[in-house]
Amino acid sequence: MSNSNGIVLKMENITKTFPGVRALDNVSIDLHKGEVLGILGENGAGKSTLIKILAGNYIKDSGHIYIDGKELDIKGPAEAMVSGIRVIYQELNTIDNLTVTENIFVGEQIVKGPLKIVDWKAMTEQARALLDTLSVKLDPDAIVGDLSVSQKQVVEIAKAISKEAKIMVMDEPTAALSEEEIKSLFNIIKTLKKRGVSIIYISHRLKEVFEIVDRVIVLRDGKKVGVQKIQETDHGKLVALMVGRDIKDMYPKKEVEIGDMVMDVKNLSADGIDSISFELKKGEILGIFGLLGSGRTSLVKALFGANKIKSGQIFINGKRAVIKDPSTARDKRVGLVPLDRKAEGLALIMGVKENITLANIKDLGKSFLINRKKEKQRAEKWVDEVGIRTPSVDQEVNSLSGGNQQKVVLAKWLESGSQIIILNEPTRGIDVGAKIEIYRLIEDLCEKGSSIIMISSELPEILSIADRIITMNKGRFTGQYLRKEASEEKLLQKACL
């Protein structure tokens, strides 16, 4: 830090207030050339707000931003772009029906001649060159819609560096990637570093942070609570900084007595899954582990009636249950916390209370009318029990943090009286503090007699929370372990069978 020339970006005393919250309170960061700076923090700590201010999506209330020592007043995304700031968002912005090349050069096509005809040849060549510098093998003519999530991400990175990029921000880049894909992403990051690009890396996964980051800044409640060189810190210290207290047990496991069989699935086949059989017992957490594309989401959809069942049977409490759509699943007291809570779980422009009662509208009143008082009471009860942090039950769900949104989805199924709750990657994109709260909630539910099916691709999570783990690949179950017998190696090996 002695060499001020090495500082590419300086954000000084940034403050941003939203209705009801001070999202950022005098936060200052600096970023050196070729550095990977990690930003850690819980839900609502202010990470996204900080990035959005840098990217020009939000306007800061006060503070200064300097790029290469010159103050820059970022009023919109265009100014950020011109200054060489690139953001790779968690929700990728690729255009699926265009090719890789078209995506890389979208809006910036290379043209030739007086008529400015698009020069496809030059573009394809440049795209190939870009992909080569990232050392990835990807056909520039491939349609992006056919690519995997990680490949799409590569396309976005290539697009970002197609014009001079000084600062690259990656928001939760590994959220949807498998272990292999994470490795290749890290190689790309290392390549970018060598080329002098500075990187701001946002993640909840501490393990990765230690692997790739040079220095880490921890935010909590909109304030900067720590800056540490990665060699000088450890897992425990960072978590303590993030949460503001010591966390002894990341995965609180309660031993719950496991009861009788509540769900029995026999030879279930549907789109993407092939003769799946399993049992679920009362109070049990059944973990299903598989990589992206293993058929885990297809299984969830079939169990919940969102995908058509081709053959096989489901028994709930010993009785044959014909689940033909989500509404029958709900009536059989099965609930689903889906993979993508914003797209599949929530009516974002509606309030917390409307979302909590969404799956149980019929109980909102005795007649065809809604009893608003009762609705409010019930919603408030769940907000309290589940621990949803919101100014009121009328608050639009859109404005809540990811973890709190996830709790709203969970509360929705509790309100509808679900006994079997299927959780598809329940802690995806959620950070440590909120994760622990969700684990606690799940454990409490089991203690009260619910049963859980939890799909997860996070090994530490599934290994410590699930009572029993089934591995899945190519639409089939490939192995089954009790928690005590399972290990990361075993699960990964079976999941790749």
């Binding site: 306007i59 709900r330 509606m350 969404l358 009318l369 809604i370």
Partner: protein, 327 residues
């Protein structure tokens, strides 16, 4: 610091509440101007009753179409429906059927037209804009075919009463229909379980489906009722004009959809209120009436109507952007 934050909250609320209120203020302003500039004719019975009748028949359809639009769908076939209804009414009366039976048959036909739209949209999955532009032509085409393109006199005590009757000798019957339809749709949309489903679907159809709401059923019934209400509108128009002709209701779909959008309903669904629609209908109707009594050439009226629509929706958008900036 906390005070600051709360100030932000109350401001945002302020904005929200006032959307419909602003419309009613505009409306009140228009009334004042119209009654002053257009005096003494504007407030005369000779002017007000036709205006109210006209407004009622547009409002009845607009209220129900709002429900469809909040689910994220749209129905362009209402104008064609009105045309076909008018022809059917006149033809059935010509055959000597009793008035009440004609009303029943016509409303049932309207419901069937709506159900057809609903089927095409929810079962086959055709985009509702395309489906209902298609049926808009079909309904009107059937009307032309049935009547050979001619106007047919439609006189019958029951039919006459629908558009030109008075309750207690003073209240025009169409306005009674308007009040009834608005009250029902208001309760359904803002206080019933069904209405909750409508908003949920408009806000996120996939999440609603995955929460056990029968999205297709709600949409289908919306179309069905919309078709039936359009036929009710067709009956009022036939009664007001005492003829059934296939040109009835031509271009009306755009006027009605404009009033709904003016009232704050969003294309794509999830947002919109019945009171907003009521205000939108009033604003456009009063505007039309005012321009007419001011002897403004019809050509200019069209320009004014379009401008008002864009102006008001622009202010919604600008407000949205301001709120977004703030947060």
């Amino acid at each position: 610091m906390a005070e600051n934050a709360n100030a932000g909250i109350s401001k945002k609320r302020h904005f929200k509440i006032n959307n419909t209120a602003i419309l009613f203020i505009i409306l009140a302003g228009m009334f004042i101007i119209a009654s002053y500039v257009g005096r003494p004719f504007f407030f005369s019975k000779l002017n007000l009753i036709p205006m109210i009748n006209n407004l009622s028949f547009i409002g009845v359809v607009a209220a129900v179409l709002t429900m469809v639009m909040v689910t994220g769908e749209i129905d362009f076939s209402i104008g064609g429906n009105i045309g076909l209804t008018a022809c059917l009414t006149a033809l059935l009366l010509e055959r000597g059927l009793p008035g009440w039976l004609v009303v029943v048959i016509v409303l049932a036909t309207g419901a069937a037209m709506g159900a057809f739209n609903g089927m095409v949209v929810t079962v086959i999955g055709v985009n509702s804009m395309i489906a209902t532009i298609g049926t808009m032509f079909i309904w009107r085409g059937i009307g032309y075919t049935l009547t050979n393109g001619e106007s047919i006199l439609a006189m019958n005590p029951v039919i006459d009463y629908i558009g030109r009757g008075f309750v207690f000798k003073v209240i025009p019957f169409p306005i009674v229909l308007l009040v009834v339809v608005f009250t029902i749709t208001y309760i359904v949309m803002h206080h019933s379980k069904w209405g909750r489903k409508i908003y949920a679907i408009g806000s996120n159809p996939l999440a609603s489906f995955l929460s056990g709401i029968n999205v297709k059923k709600v949409k289908f019934i919306g179309f069905l009722i919309c078709g039936m209400t359009a036929s009710l509108g067709g009956l009022i128009l036939t009664s007001l004009t005492a003829v059934g002709m296939p040109q009835h209701g031509q271009g009306l779909e755009l006027l009605i959809i404009s009033s709904i959008i003016l009232g704050g309903t969003v294309l794509g669904g999830g947002k919109g209120t019945i009171l907003g629609t009521l205000a939108g209908v009033f604003i456009l109707s009063v505007l039309y009436n005012f321009l007419t009594i001011m002897n403004i050439y019809y050509f200019y009226m069209q320009i004014v109507q379009g401008t008002i629509l864009i102006l008001i929706v622009s202010t919604y958008e600008m407000k949205q952007t301001m709120i977004r900036r703030r947060t």
